[in-house]
Symmetry: C2
Subunit: 310 residues, 2 copies
């Protein structure tokens, strides 16, 4: 497995691979690799004969310095995990490589990033879209793979790719979960044992809403009450948002749900007493839809969104 630290070298490598007719898939990560990332790598392998992973904890997407500083980082363990997963190349830039002195250029996606995580984390998505644009220009991939767990991020990156005209196919990869259903996240390790146990309320509340919808409940507010009731069973949980949204535009769902609807959650838990930082922010989401509706292919907006070629 090759390791490259400078973007100029990566660009030269990409040119050579492309000239030789190879197809490059990029999996951008912030390291702290877990089974969710390995699943992204597996997805990437299905779309290309060269799988490249970038490992870069991007400072501009953190809202709080403490969150940035407490973000787990073990480059050697991550590189070993990549090698074991059959990754062909890892790109491990220093901050100065992607943010040269006097950096002042930003890539922004507007409407899609205003609500949900964007409302509570000003500047977060600007940091994400900017760094991913830089990673795209550095690695020149044919395909890039991102997790569906970060649904809004995936939507914003698809939009950026399509609007600016990156000649790259963006692929969403399904959320990987612990045995008890908790969505994998690099931040999970910072949960104390009690919080860790209670954190399953996120996936439970998604399941509750799905079940209620299948049973015939279509009222948006009633479904959100069901979600919030389940979340309130976790005394440590502090809900940032629980929202039903149009999966394509992220606009609020209509009062009576029609077609596939995004149910998106952000919940804070106290950090492990030994963890740094004040609390751990977990997100999860699910596209919920009446089964009989999902049978009609034309209604399946979510899979249209997810398969859209930029």
């Amino acid at each position: 497995m090759e390791r490259i630290a400078r973007r100029r070298d990566l660009q030269a490598r990409a040119d050579a691979e492309r000239a030789a007719g190879h197809r490059i898939a990029l999996v951008p990560t912030m390291g702290a690799l877990h089974a969710g990332h390995l699943s992204l790598i597996e997805t990437a392998r299905g779309h290309a004969d060269r799988v490249w992973v970038s490992i870069f904890v991007n400072p501009t997407q953190f809202n709080e310095r403490s969150d940035f500083e407490s973000y787990p980082a073990d480059l050697e363990a991550d590189a070993a995990a990549c090698e074991a997963a059959g990754v062909d190349l890892v790109y491990t830039p220093a901050v100065e490589d992607l943010y040269p002195e006097h950096s002042q250029s930003w890539v922004e996606v507007d409407e899609l990033t205003r609500s949900l995580c964007g409302a509570g984390r000003p500047g977060h998505f600007r940091g994400v879209t900017t760094v991913v644009a830089k990673l795209f220009l550095a690695a020149k991939p044919h395909v890039a793979v991102f997790g569906e767990k970060d649904f809004q991020q995936l939507a914003a990156l698809r939009r950026m790719t399509s609007d600016l005209g990156f000649d790259i196919e963006v692929i969403g990869s399904p959320t990987v979960r612990e045995a008890d259903g908790l969505a994998l996240s690099s931040r999970n390790v910072r949960l104390g044992s009690v919080a860790r146990e209670q954190a399953t309320v996120l996936v439970r509340s998604l399941e509750d809403a799905e079940r209620a919808l299948q049973a015939g409940e279509r009222n948006r507010e009633t479904l959100l009450e069901i979600v919030k009731a389940r979340l309130s069973e976790a005394p440590l949980a502090e809900v940032e948002y629980a929202e039903l949204r149009d999966p394509a535009t992220l606009a609020e769902a209509s009062a009576r749900l029609v077609g596939p609807t995004l149910l998106a959650l952000a919940v804070h838990f106290p950090a492990d007493p030994e963890g740094r930082g004040s609390s751990v922010r977990l997100i999860d989401n699910r596209i919920i839809e009446r089964e009989e509706e999902a049978d009609a292919p034309v209604r399946n907006v979510s899979s249209t969104l997810l398969e859209e070629r930029p």
Copy 2:
């Protein structure tokens, strides 16, 4: 000469050229081609074996609809001029090709675009950097050529290219002038005959300042007074700004000039009585520097800026 209207087709063409080992130079234009553009094309020819010209009147960089609508457009004349100049390919996208439905992604350069033209034209540079990023992604050039007449634009595009990591060399090409010194601009045709005559005060005032500096005047305010005195000789001229700036950062020059300094002007003239739109905005600039200082290569910040490899 080839003509391509869709960015997907242009990207495929670029991939083929690059795979065949050719070097592509892109000259982005808004059409209305004049001798200044032909000079950019000539510069491009010196850096690549494929010269591509894009012709696109970018709606997002105009502040006023009337300016956009009165911007001269004659695609067939422009294509003929390109063919005569030996251009290999022209890219003539429709607005929808570069701004697909629901477009909401922007590329912005921050500090460099706040002052000078950026102060009077909110959103202008965001439109420029966004469309040039799109053109870069569409044409995948090795080199791109822009005129030094738009000094601030060139500085912002260099910064964008370097910050985001476009694998593209940005080249500035010297301003081309009429016999009487007026900088060529597609907007010049909209000047009435009296305004056209008075418009030479821009270049005259640049020369006055240069001459005063060579004669020993280093006081910023005194030099600006000399410039403004000359500009005031044109009764139709309405000065938007006349500024002395650091050519690298565009920050205000120190009270006593040291080293190369950008003198930048924006002046409005009434439009031809038959022209549409309210007035014609002309800009011009010059790097002024004491000759004995220019001999010391280390002080020549402007040529460092202009030659900087992104």
